[in-house]
């Protein structure tokens, strides 16, 4: 089951096989299957981004849709107000705008908001995402209530194009997460999760690391949001600032194994049988969520959480409930 414990060569071979399978998948797949796969990759990228702060550092954000929505709106408004003829250039500029906006937001709110711990950080992020959503729909400048139309960037087979875009983003976020995990930053973030008061005594610059992890998480989420805006073609506040996305991202990560590298990606795939196929049965979207949210959390929780890092289980009181104010 766990590819991470097998010998290195087998792991590399498996990854290569998976990568080739992902790359050639569009050749044979129907447009519907491609859209489904695209949604999976979308969720995988978001969950991996959330995991950098939520999984490694134990800072559970309940409001990552703030970054998703901001990235989408930044990209959409950018392409609306700066007419660029070349569609690819327009796309890239949109991505830069989305990623730039979310990274700046993370930089601005990061210092004050990361002083909050546990549930207070979670609630504050929820508040940030709700406040941004309200502002985007109430302030005319952002056009969130009416919606922004995003001009198409490809004429032929947009589902193929966006499949590769989201594949690229998911792969990039996985690579970033892997690099972070085995860099000094990753060990520092894990130290913060295990004991934030002891970490600085061991020379971990906790504030800087948390901020950096937060910004990375925001950057990836913003890029995904920008790509999402282009793939939707028309966005409103309700289609991108969605609280259910904030929560689903956590569900995906928990199902796959929080704090692990493959977990968030695998967790999103877990939702495939319950979450996506029933679309054909004309069930509404929330009905799908209820199918996967509860049985998953009740049945799989134990073995999935047990698969996360060994240290995480040994603690009885999780960081979310440590309502200490720091600073």
């Amino acid at each position: 089951m766990s590819a991470l414990t097998r010998p290195r060569a087998a792991r590399v071979a498996l990854l290569a096989l998976l990568a080739i399978a992902c790359l050639v998948f569009p050749v044979a797949a129907s447009p519907f299957a491609l859209r489904v796969a695209q949604t999976l990759l979308f969720g995988a990228a978001l969950a991996t981004a959330w995991n950098i702060l939520g999984g490694f550092a134990g800072y559970w954000s309940f409001g990552n849709s703030a970054f998703l929505g901001l990235g989408a709106f930044a990209a959409a408004l950018m392409q609306e107000h700066t007419p660029i003829d070349d569609p690819m250039l327009r796309f890239v500029v949109g991505l830069v705008a989305g990623g730039g906006a979310t990274t700046s937001l993370a930089l601005i709110i990061g210092y004050p908001i990361l002083r909050l711990r546990g549930a207070y950080f979670a609630i504050a992020m929820l508040g940030v995402s709700l406040a941004l959503a309200e502002l985007s729909s109430s302030v005319d400048l952002f056009e969130g209530a009416l919606g922004v139309t995003v001009a198409p960037i490809t004429d032929a087979a947009p589902e193929k194009f966006f499949y590769y875009v989201f594949l690229g983003l998911a792969a990039a976020s996985l690579v970033i997460a892997t690099l972070v995990r085995y860099a000094r930053l990753g060990y520092g973030l894990i130290a913060i999760r295990e004991d934030e008061d002891t970490a600085p005594m061991l020379g971990v610059p906790t504030e800087r690391y948390k901020l950096f992890g937060f910004m990375l998480s925001a950057l990836i989420t913003g890029l995904v949001g920008a790509a999402y805006a282009f793939s939707l073609g028309y966005i409103t506040t309700n289609s991108v600032f969605r609280t259910d996305i904030s929560f689903n991202v956590i569900v995906y990560t928990l199902l796959g194994g929080i704090g692990t590298l493959a977990g968030p990606t695998g967790g999103e795939n877990h939702s495939l049988p319950t979450g996506r196929w029933p679309h054909e049965g004309a069930l509404d979207h929330t009905a799908n969520q209820r199918l996967r949210a509860v049985p998953g959390s009740l049945r799989h929780k134990q073995q999935l959480l047990a698969r996360s890092t060994p240290r995480a289980n040994h603690r009885t009181h999780t960081p979310l409930m440590e309502l200490k104010f720091h600073g």
Binding site: W60, P112, I113, R115, L116, A119, Y120, A122, I123, A124, L126, G127, V128, L130, A131, E134, L135, S137, S138, T243, F247, I250, V251, L254, D284, T286, A287, Q289, R290, A293, V294, G296, S297, L298, K301, Q302, L305, T316, H317, T318, L320, M321, E322, L323, F325
Partner: protein, 292 residues
Amino acid sequence: MNVLIQTLVDGLLQGSVLALAAIGFSLIFGVLGVINLSHGVLVILGAYLALVARRILGLDPLAALPLVAAFSFAVGYIYQHLVVSPAIRRANLLSSLLVTYGTALIAQNVLVLVFSPDFQSVRPHYANDFWRLGGITLNLLQLVALAASLILITLLYLILNRLPIGRTIRATAEQELAARLCGIDIERIYALTFAIAAAFAGAAGVLIGMLFPFSPASQDDWTIYGFVVVVLGGTGSASGALLGGLLLGVIGTLTTHFIGAAYPNAMVFLVLVLMLLIRPAGLLGNALGASR
């Protein structure tokens, strides 16, 4: 001047109901440490139960309130016992988030199936009566809601601070281990606390059903108001929730009147974030569960 006073009065009237709606969320968070994401469902369920009572029994919502509260009490007890508690026992406190979130989705969709996704209301016939008092308009229905909220919040205060069960609940919130060592059956106290919280949420739901239109999808809002009230007032105390609710109401009506009808929610969430940054334990500090 009159406009300002009228706005403040309206805010306080609305705020008392918000306080009652959030008090259960605050109690569960303070005592169990669980962020109950299905709290809004318990509130909306109360409104639907009042609707059922009116349709089947022909009861006025206010007369149905005790029945709804009793039913919600049972729902809360069973829910904690069968769903939330096993999840916490088998994994950890965090898993309660997922379980309550999943339950909220299930319940919302069941409500849609049973009652349709349309907006409903249990407005009574006296809803439009009002008095004028020195230039201030006082809506009878809002006064009734205020009185009911204040009575119920006082009742919770008395339960928590005067009755033996309240003492046990507060002791459990303060130090679970010590309470256990004193021979307290923690599981039972948790289930009772959850049940009391659900009963208050259901009662609040009845008042909300009388005041505002409601639909299954509006459950989110009531969970989020729970968050805001907890952050403004602090967890686990009746007075904190009352203060938080009143503030929330006043902020809402002041913003609507002086900034614009589109902004009350944006303002409330900004206040939420600012409050967390400045004084995360709430205005009154943490009455219960300060150590969590």
